[in-house]
Amino acid sequence: MLTEVAQLVLNGLMAGTILAVPAIGFTAIYAVLRFPNFSVASQVTIGAFAGYVANVTFGLPAPVAVTVAFLVAGLSGLICDEFVLRPMRPTGPLAAAIAAVALTIVLENVVRFWFGNDLRGYDLPVLRDWRFAGLRVSPQQVENGVIAIIAMACLFAFLAFSRMGKAMRAVADNPTLASIKGIDSVTIGRLVSFVGMGLAGLGGMLLGLDTSIDPLTGFRAVLTVFAAAVVGGLGSIPGAVVGALTIGVAEELSLLVLDPAYRTAVGFFAILLVLTLRPRGILGERAF
């Protein structure tokens, strides 16, 4: 029993580390642009498929293919924001949120149009699971976790040390003050759309490496991503990490009492619980 729980917690932490990547993307966009960009779902899928093309069609190894996933999803997110969502934002955050849902439907079907509905798997070496102290872990999971941690470390370094990163935090913190200081909010908006959706795409590929991908990959994952962001505190980047680890472990532990089909529902109930008891989430809404 104890090793079973330990195994579940370990799996949860692994899943949470990967989940943190798209959750950071979603929450960072919220922090700067102040609307829930639901099209993160489709960028997760686009990243997963971009990585698939790089990995299977062009034969790049998975750790290289994830950068392709990041770049393609980031670019797609940037273009969509520029031409679809940004013009909508002055109307109000909710109009932009609705447009983002419509955008998700469009992009998901662009992927479906080219790739069809079939499940696809990445080209990965088959490796034996590592075992220690009665626990099992697959080398692929470890590799995914390491990629996720590297991506997050890069992001935190970018936010903490680079000029653009600091500008981004300034806009998230106080847009009026930032604009008085001469920070161009449009440029920052573009930057956060690129980085945020890039992270979503990278996360999509990491999710896909564990299982397989199809045009609904992003949509299935997105409720969990929202849950991670809300539980950690919507708009807080460290919060997204804490939230993702919490949701990851909670989903795995739910297997002890619930049918695996209800795994996604755990995120929803976590959202309800947090909104009722502590609406600002674990770490509050401060961006960084």
Binding site: Y30, F35, P36, F38, V84, P87, M88, T91, P93, L94, A95, A97, I98, A99, V101, A102, L103, T104, I105, V106, E108, N109, V110, R112, F113, G116, N117, F219, L223, F226, A227, V230, L234, D259, A261, Y262, T264, A265, G267, F268, I271, L272, L275, T276, P279
Partner: protein
């Protein structure tokens, strides 16, 4: 062909009901509901189970379907009532997914992904299928008319004015002494009850419901219908639904225009066009075809009273 047209009109009526429900929530009170297909499903499942399993009359099933959806709406609205609208968007989106997961997995209750078949319909089996179609169309038309009438009353009543005040600025409404949370929760529940009513009727019309029928795309249809018709306008909601059904059906002929597509690609193109249409309308004509007109309120003539005072 006639049957096809009648069936499409019935669907337009059902979508119209959902758009009317959304209009209460979004058009009047300014709250978002991105999971309305979930409330539609709640109405459909409750009514189907009550009439098929417990053998209750259809009218009772439909009533409880609407009430059940209202109850679910109340819970969702209560949890997010004090928070910004963004949270309601996330929670409603999640709600519809959880409903779909539950409907797929609680096999003892909902028969899982196989769905529930043989849901009774009014006079189904006693009359020819053509006559059933016509009867149901008449029924839906009557229901839509009644709902439009009632919601127009709400809109023109002081109650509707409070909802519009909440939509435009809930702080002002609070300063004017309105209990913002109560109004928000009531409006959300009222809207969801109409959506649940549409769901219940849907089950009795098609005689079969399954989790596959309650996909997020339907939410997009309805948002599209309301936005195209005119957010805030009850007539616009109905007309927008007719347009959406017409638009969706005409995209079927895409295969004749673009040859050599596989079935998946055709389906993908159609969904792309629906989503694209919503984006284009939001961008180019956010007020819709029939923009909302504020009800006229006759104010007492201020100058007249001044004169009276003077004399």
């Amino acid at each position: 062909m006639e049957n096809y047209l009648i069936a499409m009109l019935v669907f337009a009526g059902l979508y119209g009901l959902m758009a009317l429900g959304l209009n209460v929530v979004w058009g009047m009170a300014g709250m978002i509901n991105l999971g309305l297909v979930g409330f539609f499903a709640v109405g459909a499942y409750i009514s189907a189970l009550l009439t098929k399993v417990l053998g209750m009359p259809i009218a009772v099933g439909v009533l409880f379907g609407a009430l059940g959806a209202a109850g679910a709406g109340m819970v969702v609205a209560l949890v997010t009532a004090k928070l910004r609208g963004d949270y309601l968007a996330i929670v409603t989106l999640g709600f519809s997914e959880v409903i779909r997961i539950t409907a797929s997995n609680e096999i003892w209750l909902t028969n899982g992904t196989d769905g529930i078949s043989g849901i009774p319909g009014p006079w189904r089996g006693e009359v020819t299928p053509e006559a059933f179609n016509l009867i149901f169309l008449a029924l839906v038309a009557v229901v839509v008319t009644i709902v439009v009438f009632l919601l127009q009353r709400v809109r023109h009543a002081p109650y509707g004015r409070v909802l519009r005040a909440l939509r435009d600025d809930d702080q002002v409404a609070a300063v004017a002494g309105k209990t913002v949370i109560r109004f928000k929760v009531e409006a959300f529940a009222l809207g969801c009850s109409v959506i649940g009513l549409a769901g219940a009727l849907y089950g009795h019309y098609t005689s079969y419901i399954a989790p596959d029928g309650f996909v997020p795309l339907i939410t997009i249809y309805i948002v599209l219908a309301l936005t195209a018709g005119g957010t805030g306008n009850n007539y616009g909601a109905v007309i927008g639904s007719l347009l959406v059904v017409f638009f969706m059906e005409s995209t079927r002929f895409i295969t004749e225009v673009v040859p050599g597509l596989q079935a998946v690609q055709v389906a993908a193109l159609r969904e792309m066009m629906i989503g694209g249409a919503l984006i284009v309308i939001l961008r180019l004509r956010p007020d819709g075809l029939i923009p909302e007109r504020m009800p006229r309120i006759d104010l007492p003539d201020a100058t007249l009273t001044e004169e009276k005072k003077a004399t």
